[in-house]
Symmetry: D2
Subunit: 388 residues, 4 copies
């Protein structure tokens, strides 16, 4: 089946940012399994990301994580990336691995530690100035493990103040995106646990502050596409961290656990005007490839997003609205399901070939011998990981 | 143990509003078990509520549900209540039992049905004018059962418009409180599923619109006291619908399922300035007594809230702050637990007696023979229930 | 795409039993919406089920629910069904709507009430003798709402004794299938809450007792296909009650909420030898069409099962095993996903036509005018429902 | 309040085994915070456990984890422990940290790796012979992250075979206890995810195989006390791993998250004959002290179990049964709650003093300066941790 031209033209501009840390080793508190070929440096991570883009033309930028990707010369790193056909994207701060942050960072009761955490974010913005990044993404591990351990209310007030200081430093074309997470690593309360909190905090900051929605950061049963619709309506959906989960924040490949949910999310993004080159909504991956190969894991992920976007673009919006207005429950649901069940893969393969890309990027990558090559080359040194 | 005078003086002003419908029959989709003595009229429900107040001095007002409690003369109903020592409280609207509302009420695509739903709320405000009620509580069953059945985004926009029309009709001393609910009776999406949505909607309305937090309306694992703290911080916590749950919206007796959670909630209410006669936060019950006796079920409920408030008032806030600031996790937690584990029941019994109340309201009610009396008297007619 | 002959031959024998009560009105504790054309009698329910079978050739039997489907002459009812091309199937007992069962049935502490509940099941077996039904399905509402209300352990022992008495009455070709359910209508504890309990109870009874797995009766996040694999391995998977859910026991159309889960379940059924005419595993629907039309709702449901079975049959088992043995995570997952994403609908449409069936049963039913006809004919009388 | 002698005499024999690993550093995948004084050797862990016992007289044994606690001479280790007043208890196997086990251990498709995992367990039994331990506890990380990655059914069959080989090696007085876990570190399927699986597997082995119930290893909303009652009824509850959780397997201090749940669990243990010196049920802790001090964290934990056991022993079983039989829901619940709300702490303090123990072990430990002493002494070396 050839896909409609209107769908293909919308797919043409799709971009999905890759996280540099997805190419490093990751795991659980029980074990991190290392694999041959894992990058040792930010440059090698970027090279891997560029490889994903080479096979898919879907991932033109790489997000950095500070301090995991700290380098002396970010301009040089940007040129390195550019030479490989990709750019540097979102800067992710990290205030969860320094001993000082055991009891909080932007929410800490100790003024000195809170200052340190704020300063780290200002330093991240300095890096953004050098990399030309638009977004500073803030995910906080702040929270408590036991009732009474911290003052929930006071922490929220300090968070607001800290964010205000960070926000004030943003350049005109820079944004702050605040991610929320239901739980982990804190097990009783999390300082930004839900979209409501993230929304209330960024709404207080101003137009350059937005919400980041990580698809794995919700309570069981949460209707995520509703949140997408609501945040778009409120003008505050800044970006997605895509991944999938069966239980908690499993960080599996996006679309792997509940493909229909991914379809519904993407449909609602499109419905709400969040899709396309002019949209403020950035698509990113945030995943862990604990047991599968990392580069093909990322290729699989961007393809999943692309395929599901194609299905969501196929929804007959006019017929759907008519069925909805008529109270035709089965008819309306059927229109949505018809798009979901359409096999867009042959059409996408054909289209990829027409653009000089491999019809089947997974097979092409496997056949390329790239994984074997980097495994042979990248010997010695310390493999990248979370450094927990 | 005699409770500290400072605690007792704060308990003195505590009031918990009773829902008239708690005295009617309720159940599940599988079965509603009727019991002898169940009220047949709004007046009999009010009489039952007055009985709860008589034994506890905790429940001076009764919330009405329209149309379940529709009468010809609300002024007369108010006088009837007053004669029994109670007042009429919150007015609850109902747009979930008319066939027109099968696919929505304030969110409906059909302008006529939406108008009807808005008008119902205006009629409720008319009643409030007669009863002197402050609060109009809106809980919506609006939502869909299947993906695609409705347009999530469009429904939210229509909801905002409907609420605006209702809000405009409020008197100076009247409030609109918007309740949220995770799911049920809609099983795919709910139009007001979480505090974030309720907050965003009422924030758009103005100062007289607040959020109603029903303790049973959250996703599994949700930290409710965090929401309490956040809404108080945002100045938008209008009222509580107290009940408890193990699974979904079980509507069990408040404090029955997780007493420690109730303690944490009440602590955070106090911490955030939400407790006391000057607070804008109203305490209400919203429960179903499916298998237990209703009047003692309500007595048990208000006592649970009172006892847990006493424990929460016992928290040594100064010591707690010191432990929190020192990063003393076990110490801070221990201070909270010390209050929770304190047996306040003897002290409350003593205090009740000093105020001319029964030391043990449950035992006193059982000994009063009241239940047997109303069972004998209330013969014939149609027992009140949800009329589903 | 034409489906492989090996797949079509396996689909040829697929049967899915319909529940008579799916054609009656259903709803939530908040509201039951009635619809024109709803059956008034067991005969009309059977006629509706026969209509589903007429359009799909997938549903040759109807399950009855006693007492909802009580008639004087079951042999006559069987002939009535036969004349319409369908047979009578599983008999479902009901011990949740009599006032005596407020605190339990097969688990009740009162010997007389427990006797009554056992006798009801014996009467159901009498009916089975007349209808020629193989299966007695027992789902119990037994449980408690409050800690302490009942003695969990004693109730389990009485359940075992009651089941033993019922089991003893089974004929040689009859079976008892025991359904489990996580919660509802009981909200603290359920006497058969999980597959382990159902398994332990039926294992103690003997070979004619099996477990019934209702896909909506699990805790959030439960891996249902694991339970399928385990019960097949233990030789105790007797039947499925298919439906779907987003939150609790939503009883939505099977496959509507998480189609990929349905695929995984059906794959594991096939993998474990639970599929086919010689399998002991019976496929049934157990759903509520609260807001959608009932007959097309059932047609949609059996088509969903058929389509998903076709996808599961397409899995390349040899390639899958090779990838699994090689530790090729992405490869193995890809093989499964390839089958899932295959659009089997055109192939099934073609095949249906070749068998004299409508290519698109949903469209054919809509075009038939049947719903309008029964709405016009079925006037007066009392529409069937749960009678709660 | 002085506690009844009957309660005190039952408390006298209470023992709670401590996990050696609770004294090592632990954390999340994001960060492990090290603390001064953390043990470097198995001996230091045992010394810390002995300290907990010294202050509480509740923890006379320590569980070992192999290989984390591997030593050359287990007899010498046993004598070392004995000199400190404690004994060596359960041996825990570990097949989740060797690279070979990336895709499974006792369930692996590769015969050699499976053999290695079996042999590890046989080696653990060799250690048990030397330490005199009764129990081999098996918790498996085996599972998969993606649908299709593994063959669920085949893995279960291999598990059964592996367990059989291990079971055959047990001495007459030794037991195998099989723990189940809902998820983590595997995120799609776990090979022993629920009590039903653990029960089915150990039932197939024989009388010396039992189930281990970790209180944090269940789906949200699971009624754990029901499982306790059921396993006791089936004669298969071997041991508890106590901890608490708000979300997933948070491994918080037992009783910290939901004290009422702990009460209900302990009540059901007592009710089912699982409490006391003659019971086959072993009480153990399995916790992580990520942010709180470890030794006082363990003291707090055993005290929580002791206090809650005292409350559970206070339940008036005769009155409870009478209320249950009478269908007196509020009465029965009230009897349970009365015990729960009783403040047993003063009575326990008094009783501890009468036995030569500190009235308040937490305060006594804090005053002892022990933590400061070991922090000063234990300098250099590598602190114990999970070594992930």
């Amino acid at each position: 089946m050839t896909l409609p031209a209107a769908v293909l033209s919308q797919l043409e501009t799709q971009t999905i940012e890759l996280p540099s840390w997805a190419f490093g080793n990751s795991g659980t508190r029980f074990k991190v399994f290392a694999t041959p070929g894992t990058p040792r440096t930010p440059e090698e991570k970027i090279a891997d990301a560029a490889t994903v883009n080479e096979f898919t033309a879907l991932a033109p930028t790489v997000a950095l994580h500070i301090p995991w990707d700290t380098v002396d010369d970010y301009a040089a790193l940007g040129r390195f990336a550019q030479d490989l056909g990709v750019g540097l994207g979102t800067i992710n701060s990290n205030t969860f691995q320094d001993n000082d942050y055991k009891f909080g960072s932007l929410t800490h009761t100790d003024a000195g530690i809170r200052r340190k955490a704020i300063d780290h974010h200002l330093a991240c913005i300095d890096i953004m100035d050098q990399t030309g990044s638009r977004d500073l993404k803030i995910w906080l591990a702040d929270g408590t493990n036991y009732p009474g351990q911290g003052d929930i209310r006071g922490r929220q007030d300090r968070l607001a103040d800290s964010l205000q200081q960070i926000y004030a430093r943003l350049g005109d074309d820079q944004r702050l995106v605040l991610e929320y997470k239901f739980f982990e690593p804190a097990f009783y309360h999390t300082d930004v646990p839900d979209w409501g909190t993230s929304y209330a905090q960024v709404a207080a900051l101003g137009d350059k502050a937005m919400v980041c929605l990580d698809t794995g950061h919700h309570a069981p049963g949460t209707n995520i596409e509703f949140i997408v619709a609501q945040l778009l309506r409120l003008g505050k959906l800044g970006s997605f961290d895509f991944n999938s989960r069966f239980y908690a924040d499993d960080d599996l490949i996006v679309g792997a656990a509940d493909p229909f949910q991914l379809f519904r999310i993407l449909y609602e993004v499109i419905r709400g005007g969040g899709y396309g080159p002019d949209s403020p909504v950035a698509f990113m991956l945030d995943q862990c490839h604990n047991v599968e190969d990392k580069i093909p894991g990322q290729i699989r992920s961007v393809l999943n997003v692309q395929e599901m976007t194609a299905r969501a673009l196929l929804v007959d919006a006019v017929a759907l609205k008519a069925a909805q207005d008529a109270g035709d429950v089965l008819g309306a649901n059927g229109i949505l399901m018809d798009a979901f069940y359409t096999d867009v893969r042959p059409g996408l393969a054909e289209w990829r070939e027409s653009r000089g890309l491999p019809a089947d990027p997974m097979a092409a990558y496997a056949a390329s011998g790239h994984l074997q090559r980097i495994a042979a080359e990248r010997v010695g040194g310390t493999q990248a990981g979370w450094g927990a």
